[in-house]
């Protein structure tokens, strides 16, 4: 059949074929790059609080199907799905504690309804029973410049609001040197107990909350596994599995004085 087509047309057909192929490839690459840049941008928001039992942010974004079943299960309307314009990963659930905090339902209705296990029952279970106190949505942080308890005014609103009263927030008494006869009643957050429910942030009496919940990744540091608490038997057990590594650096043959006086030839001129 190709014999019937004039040579010139054949050439044009071939050119057209290559051009079309290149266009399809180029446009696909263009679309792919724009698309991936956009997805990268919208998944980057780090200042948001997830419902209890949520996987790590990375796994959560991977696994959440954005169905909103947790939102429907929440009896307090705490949770909402990120809308276009919220500048959060689109369609995923989050909450703003200053508006509506997590009220820590003992039966945690938002978690078992999740069809993808992005909200994972295992993460909020102790001894085969759901345990909301195990939730780790974030951690409360205090700005002691704006907290009026640190000024010496008596306020324990956050301490009283905390569902883990006396465990997640305790009150520290110190002497008020300014008056000489009063005490400071300073709230202290214990990050290992705090669930990040945000009831303290909701209760805070200052204009903008002086105690507020930040996501764990933002608020917490990490000591690294090369520090061991020698006074803690459990922590010291990590030493048993430790392996040692010896490194060798060649010792310089020059004397210390030579090295100190070596100005690299800058005074030679």
């Amino acid at each position: 059949m190709s014999n019937n087509i004039p040579r010139k047309d054949q050439k044009m057909n071939r050119r057209e074929f290559f051009l079309n192929g290149a266009r399809a490839l180029g446009l696909t690459a263009l679309g792919g790059l724009v698309w991936s840049a956009y997805v990268d941008e919208v998944t980057a928001a780090s200042l948001l609080l997830r419902p209890p039992g949520a996987l790590d942010e990375n796994d959560f974004l991977k696994t959440c199907i954005k169905c909103g079943m947790c939102v429907e299960a929440c009896p307090y309307d705490t949770l909402q799905l990120a809308k276009p314009g919220d500048n959060m990963p689109l369609g995923t659930p989050y909450f703003i504690p200053r508006d509506i905090p997590c009220y820590m339902c003992p039966d945690i209705p938002c978690v078992p309804v999740c069809p993808t296990d992005a909200l994972n029952e295992k993460l909020v279970t102790t001894k085969n029973k759901l345990d909301i106190n195990k939730a780790s949505m974030g951690v409360a942080v205090i700005d002691d410049n704006s907290c009026i308890a640190f000024w010496g005014i008596q306020c324990d609103a956050c301490y009283r609001a905390c569902p883990l009263l006396g465990e997640a927030i305790t009150i520290e008494y110190t002497k008020n040197e300014r008056t000489g006869k009063h005490a400071f009643l300073k709230p202290v957050v214990h990050a290992d107990v705090c669930t990040g429910c945000g009831l303290c942030e909701k209760a805070c009496v200052t204009q903008k909350a002086a105690i507020f919940v930040l996501p764990n990744e933002v608020a917490k540091g990490k000591a690294g596994d090369y520090y061991i608490k020698g006074w803690d038997k459990n922590d010291e057990k990590r030493l048993e599995k430790a392996t040692s590594e010896t490194t060798k650096t060649k010792i310089s043959e020059r004397k210390a004085v030579d090295s100190l006086n070596d100005l690299g030839g800058i005074l030679d001129d």
């Binding site: 399809a24 696909t28 679309g31 792919g32 698309w35 991936s36 956009y38 997805v39 990268d40 919208v42 998944t43 990375n58 796994d59 974004l61 991977k62 696994t63 199907i65 954005k66 169905c67 909103g68 079943m69 939102v71 429907e72 909402q80 799905l81 809308k83 276009p84 314009g85 919220d86 990963p89 689109l90 369609g91 309804v113 069809p115 993808t116 296990d117």
Partner: protein
């Protein structure tokens, strides 16, 4: 009037289905009437049967997520239903975006846009490129790539849980279909349509053409959102086998000559 209703019986049935489904979702969220919970990405029927979007689950799988049993069963139910029964019916009977693009199309027809600009400048295969691209991006980025940009999800999720700037997605699709490309979103770009086109080709419910009755009025081709699937009109008495047919039934109802009808694929073969 009765004639008008008769002439749009499938259209009316489709609108009722689409609106009822969205209404049930909204009722579950607002009043806790839990007949159908969730949204079109994943839902629960009667508090027991899981239903999930198989394309979204496929992206999650490609992204490397652990697929929980609930969502997997839900995806299989939906997959099997459209594969063996409904065909690409999701697009015309369930998806709320269909109402937006149908409106664009209606205006195009009323104002004769299609007669002025006959040839459409883009191929309908774009949706398959977008489909493959979404899976490649999901794999490399580790996120379900289309789910973060999908205007379809923005619309159905928005209608149930709050729209935000999602109205922009509605306007964009409307204007795009009206002024840029005929059937632009649903018929060219949307990878969900592409996905259901691929699995829908095996479905039992089909439109069947009888060319002896056909008077070549071409009303069916004018109204069909995927008119390339009706290539046999006036020529052969065969069923529409392309998976790109959305089983919307518009061609069946506009036909004045009984030349197009719904049928069950295999039964038709036996009686022939």
């Amino acid at each position: 009037m009765i004639n008008l209703i008769k002439k749009s019986k499938f259209l009316i049935a489709r609108r009722i289905t689409q609106i009822t489904i969205m209404f049930l979702y909204i009722a579950a969220n607002i009043w806790g009437f839990n007949f159908l919970m969730g949204n079109l990405s994943s839902s629960k029927l009667l508090d027991t049967v899981p239903l999930s979007d198989p394309y979204a689950v496929l992206q999650m799988f490609t992204a490397g997520a652990v697929i929980a049993s609930d969502v997997l069963i839900g995806a299989i139910i939906i997959f099997v239903f459209y594969m063996f029964i409904g065909g690409r019916a999701f697009c015309s009977w369930v998806c709320p975006v269909n109402m937006i693009t149908d409106l664009s199309n209606y205006i195009r027809r009323k104002f004769g846009f299609n007669k002025i600009l006959k040839r459409q400048p883009a191929t309908r295969n774009i949706r398959y490129y977008v489909l493959v691209l979404s899976l490649i991006l999901s794999f490399f980025m580790g996120y379900a790539a289309f789910e973060f940009v999908s205007p379809v999800s923005m619309v159905h999720r928005g209608l149930i849980f709050g729209l935000g700037f999602g109205w922009a997605a509605i306007v964009i699709i409307f204007l795009f279909d009206l002024f840029v490309l005929k059937n632009g979103w649903c018929g060219h770009i949307c990878p969900i349509g592409g996905f259901y086109s691929l699995i829908g080709r095996f479905s039992l419910i089909r439109v069947h053409h009888n060319h002896e009755n056909c008077t070549a009025c071409m009303k069916c081709k004018e109204v069909c959102p995927e008119s390339q699937v009706l290539f046999m009109v006036t020529k052969d008495s065969i069923p529409v086998t392309s998976g790109e047919c959305t089983n919307c039934g518009r061609c069946v109802e506009v036909c004045d000559d009984e030349a197009l009808n719904f049928s069950i694929k295999n039964l038709k073969k036996e009686t022939k």
